[in-house]
Symmetry: C2
Subunit: 383 residues, 2 copies
Amino acid sequence: MVPTGASQRVQRARLFTAEDPLVLDGGERLSEVEVAYETWGELAPDASNAVFVCHALTGDSHAAGDPGQPGWWDVMVGPGRPVDTDRFFVVCPNLLGGCRGTTGPTSVDPATGTAYGLDFPLLSIRDFVTVHRRLMRHLGIRRLRAVVGGSLGGMQALQWGLDAPEEVHGAVVVAASSHLSAQNIAFSAVARSAIMRDPEFADGRYAEGGGPRTGLAIARMMAHITYLSEQAMAEKFGRRIQEGDEPRRRFGVDFAVESYLEHQGQAFLDRFDPLSYLYLTRSLDYFDPFADPGATGRAAAAARTGRRTEFLVVSFDSDWRFSTSHSRRIVRVLERARIPVSFREISAPHGHDSFLLDVPDYLASVAAFLDHLADVEGGSGAR
Amino acid sequence: MVPTGASQRVQRARLFTAEDPLVLDGGERLSEVEVAYETWGELAPDASNAVFVCHALTGDSHAAGDPGQPGWWDVMVGPGRPVDTDRFFVVCPNLLGGCRGTTGPTSVDPATGTAYGLDFPLLSIRDFVTVHRRLMRHLGIRRLRAVVGGSLGGMQALQWGLDAPEEVHGAVVVAASSHLSAQNIAFSAVARSAIMRDPEFADGRYAEGGGPRTGLAIARMMAHITYLSEQAMAEKFGRRIQEGDEPRRRFGVDFAVESYLEHQGQAFLDRFDPLSYLYLTRSLDYFDPFADPGATGRAAAAARTGRRTEFLVVSFDSDWRFSTSHSRRIVRVLERARIPVSFREISAPHGHDSFLLDVPDYLASVAAFLDHLADVEGGSGAR
């Protein structure tokens, strides 16, 4: 619905149809699922060098930049970067339920000829992975060198490595969680409430470009508070007063931090859809792969073979959205199941946003992990 | 505007009039200022046993309970409690700018005959103290045994002790700050944005009982996240699913924490006004008494006499809204100015809300401090 500024590179694949529908984790079915994705680099003749990049809550397929159009993960993906597009064939799809080219709640329901709205089925993170896996096969790939993601993207990497270890050599799980805390859910809940209580929400049947813009801006502003550490906000803005024309000491934008949040809230409206925000945040709330004690069974069995997933889990010491304790829990469960896992807590001041930023120790850890996978892959011939 | 459930005990005093207006910190004037307040206990013949209780952002004058109507600070104020109404004459006024009986933006502007709305002047925490001081004199009191408050209430206690040390023997500053951090201001800013972007806000000219109810509920829900520690939320709600009639796994109230926040947001609408929320949060944003290097001058000079203020500063280790670092800064500045100050960091799991709860170590610290003041008062005859 909001394809403004969509990359020239975007490709599309119709991966599920009425004859071959997507069966969701919750039992419902979706036909006519189209996925928007971008790729970089060349797939090796034996298809052994593919890396999937999974985006976070509000990302899109444009992970790496073209001239004039930066990607959201240029520090990670590109020539000479850790996910090196000179060596790897890199794929980044837009998420199911999103609003950047892949089928979501603003797409037309073939059964009715109108947009799904709230009739779109609820999604789980496993559903995202199911679609990624179909795209992988569509591209002629049977096993990935790695799947890499931060935040919601990291949860997809975790789920994929658990569900299909034979398809993923390395899973890089950055600034993620195996389940949201009550506080995490609380922030989601207030964001959704701001969207759904906005009178323009109209039960999700709003006109294109309209809808609960106020609610979505409020949700985004609040989310941005949680993306930065208190320290980073203090250093970036402190109590600095914003220069401007408005009279001060009233209720306009007086402080620099207010100006920043207002800008973030407003800019978001041009590129994101309120219904997608509902669906994707709800998938986060319900994510809890380890709730099933047998969840690690496939990955643990695979760990005793050559076709297993190795995990790299990364956290940032200033991240209070998904603090290191979330990552440690993932590591603990994987280790107890004898699934290979490395862990790095990176010192960086930026909070949750660190996963998107140029933090050398972090990028070096991911690069080293991908090098290690290449060595193993080359040595064992396990492709 | 929202006097629902106002206590039977509430008294009113017209403290400023057209002939004797309130001159605000920012230079503007307010005439016809009426203050709602409650008192407990008996004032001693020499008026030496008075304690002022200052409420926080959304409090009112009903600090201590009557049968059937609990007070918001019953753990602190009452017979045998630290602020012992058998020993002290206790006064709790509703704040200037509030909506629980004291003049505020929903009061009628005598110049126009209609509600002030956004024409009400901006307020500082010093303005609240100016009104408290007038009320004190109105009640025949020249010097308080103590002024006691948490959060915004603690800031009033700090300001009073700095501005008029000859009027305050002890100032108890709980879970407060000498200035808000960028993150604190950010939460305020999003709350105000939710209120002011609500179409029902109508530039503050909404009808009584109407107005930006959605925005105010969102603001309140978000604030409640910051009042609890992550740990307290985890223990109280975890990922528990709320029992109910609604179908689950959609966008209703699925998780217990969502139910809690929805309830808090809704209940708040019956007792608070959106304009008051704007004015009181803005007074917090701008509070910064130590920005003026001479701010401690009066209190420091008084510290060398018998008519000085002694401070007790209390923080809670799980409070992330005003963490211990905020309290330490207050202590540091006071100590450098040679102003007497004690400091307690209390271990309690509840987060910022701890200041309202039955935390024995905290209550014992306040009780001990008030006992100490009584000893000094008795010994030095400094009344």
